[in-house]
Symmetry: D2
Subunit: 265 residues, 4 copies
């Protein structure tokens, strides 16, 4: 607390600044550095408590899972379009962040809310998760809405999804929302629909099981995607001419060929 | 490469999208998840190659070092001000990102450039680093400019700085730019000026020794700070009334009391 | 229509570009220039038709009415805060625009919707406007909501409001929504509440009588306020030091003293 | 000046707020409304003084000239791309504003600076404008730069340009910068180059003759273009599906057919 604060001072519970000390949720950043991971620190600043190393690894996996999805998503296109006018790195990246909304990244939050509704209904009614999921899906359909986080136009069997569930299992945090997601997938399959959980759905289910408030989940997607947006803006500025017409579909990858991690890591 | 690409397709070397596969700089994201850290993946997407685990830990420490600096920096104030009008999470966070520029976060890049100039002068002239640093500082002064990354209005001896140099040493990447930073600090001290390297200066020196292009360093600061911005916007939206007058100075911390990491971690 | 367009081309009905010709909603811009006012052209581009000169003058009066409200509104503070970091003019102004939302400027749209509800109820029930207004206000109160566009913390009798109603009357467009606004004011006064229509409420009522879609009204406020935001950012960049702490309340005006228009104009 | 201001209060010379009175540069907004045009008020807030009605009409013509240029410019594409993700009107429009920079709209400022250089050189050397223009163009060429504001990929003889010069002549403000622009055009023509002054160049020349600071000219382009950006975002939100791929070239106009102003207006 600084000397200049008064009784009328407004309050914040995130970070305390004192001479030679910056404390996030009570922990000295200098002590966190090198001792806890980015995944643990992101959890800390958003939730108020440090999670276990395993949960930190799961958080890191979620941040890595969404780091980029090529040049087609609107966040990459908006950032590149602004960059092409001579905008600064930060103004361009900001346009990318401003593109993360209901229809882009928003499936994480929406899926978490819908799975939360299934979990609550199951608790109230005592019926099986599959039965509740079926009812909820019917209700959504009759309201002209759809379940978020299932199916994908490009990825029909996304290995990122399986990897997330595996790491959630290992961290011992896979719970009711992941079960509800499985139930939804099962109901779809029984009805002959190929609508597997996608990476957004998996993140929504796992973040809900970790206890995150759905209203902050889109923020996690922003944190995850920022390195990709910086890379796109930097590439646009260093590789392309200003004011070019950026085709949203007709582009191709010419980076390093497919490769695997070295066996030792 | 997608089937729809044509000869006229524009090129990107960041991420390749194929059905059930997303490859960043050649690596399948599903393989990276849980096997490499966020720090390594951020390095990968910006530089094109995976660094060692030690460099990944150093990258993570830099991201943690800058995760937040309370409610006073303009990025936090801009984000909170926009949030107070009823803006979405993403629009508010975008205003925070748009505040990271020359005078906020920019010292990292500027310090890296100035240290790079000292390193180059030393190579050309063969004089001692201290001698070269002295000359460069004199030149800056006569041009009415100042050395970026040294001194701080709040932190006179910032433990984050020492921690970064320690981790850079451990990763074996401390090089010419860190030496040049030490030389500058030494010249200031000899002249009786208390202007120690600050956390921005340390990041500039280490990122330059890691081979990062100065023009992308502000992007690393954005990546680091984003979780803090999300936390501030979320707190503003959940704890404060809309349209309040946000005093930039008169606020105080009321979060968890100072605490230490458990001994085991 | 350009030669490059195909059957799959997406459509826009705003502006047609051809060599040496730019047509907005069918009118050649070169013909509009000097012959119709900004107010008429703004109406044209948003509504599709050119209004009368009188309606154009009313539109201009609304744009002038909201051109600026000093340094206190969040749009001015956000724009100045971003500017103080060294951001470009456009990035700073963009942060100001991003601050125009539900709680800042949004009363225009909300008031228009609420007055529209009163007008519809009156048509359906055949009761007097005062009676309907009373019922609607009671309903709002019981739902914990409030009528937008009435009362102001600084201006208890805003001359801009009267001027707008006067000009709407002159243009012959004052209609049901303005009447409904008067009825609301009357109901408040009868209940002993000093809640006169404010400038947002007047704009909402008049724009609704002009037939504007409420969803575009906040856009009109953005158009009106942009010159003010440009002026604030330019002043911040030319008159203040970077990274200053911008007090949202403790500032004062030192521009030209109060003056009147010359009699001839 | 408000009662709450103190000696330490920071100063602003734009707008004074007092109960029931808002004064821009000394003039009560309520008095401006309906008596002066948007063009005059924009001049007032940026320059500090009210211009003549003729200059106001010229300002209005410049604002109308740049109100929109279809769906191809990056500001329209960025705004539509962000809108397609479900962003608010203000966040989408802000992305459009953030796209107005050196390469988009910036030719106005750059041309004004270059013409200002020609005017200064002519004053210093006493040589003819054509001779000075020739030298300056040679210097630019040898530095690998080009003169801004001349030539256009679509419009080879833009009637908006002629209209602006005509109105500047009528307002009696056509001066040295317009002459310099004519000289540049003449030098190009003599060299066999078809590079007529374009609308950006005309605005740069006229705004410079009006005495505007080049650093604020991009702001005038933002003010002019905002209605177009609002129209594009509104059309995107009401006419298109979310998350569509927005082709920057393959679109066509389907609005009202070409039409002329009625004879009376």
């Amino acid at each position: 607390m600084t000397d200049s604060s008064t009784d009328s001072a407004w309050k914040t519970a995130i970070t305390e600044i004192a001479p030679n000390c910056v404390r996030v949720r009570g922990y000295d950043i200098a002590e966190l550095m090198g001792n806890v991971s980015v995944g643990q620190t992101v959890y800390l600043i958003l939730r108020g408590e440090l999670p276990s190393e395993d949960v930190g690894r799961l958080m890191e996996a979620m941040l890595v899972a969404s780091i980029d999805h090529g040049a087609t998503p609107p966040s990459a296109l908006a950032a590149r379009t602004v960059a092409s006018t001579g905008a600064s790195l930060s103004a361009s990246v900001a346009a990318g962040i401003a593109s993360i909304n209901e229809h882009h990244g928003g499936a994480i939050e929406q899926c978490a809310r819908q799975l939360g509704h299934i979990v609550n209904q199951q608790t109230e009614t005592g019926e099986s998760l599959d039965r509740v999921a079926e009812t909820v899906l019917e209700d959504l359909k009759s309201e002209g809405q759809r379940m978020a986080g299932f199916g994908h136009r490009t990825h029909t069997n996304d290995p990122r999804t399986n990897r997330l569930f595996e790491l959630a299992e290992q961290a011992g945090v896979s719970g009711k929302h992941v079960e509800a997601a499985r139930a939804v997938e099962h109901v779809f399959a029984t009805a002959g629909k190929q609508l597997p959980i996608n990476v957004d759905g998996a993140m929504g289910a796992i973040l809900a099981d970790l206890g995150f408030d759905p209203s902050v989940m889109n923020g996690l997607f922003m944190i995850a995607r920022l390195p990709g947006l910086v890379a796109h803006v930097h590439e646009e500025k260093t590789r392309q001419n200003p004011m070019r017409r950026i085709d949203p579909v007709d582009h191709s990858y010419d980076g390093p060929a497919a490769r695997s991690l070295p066996p030792s890591s």
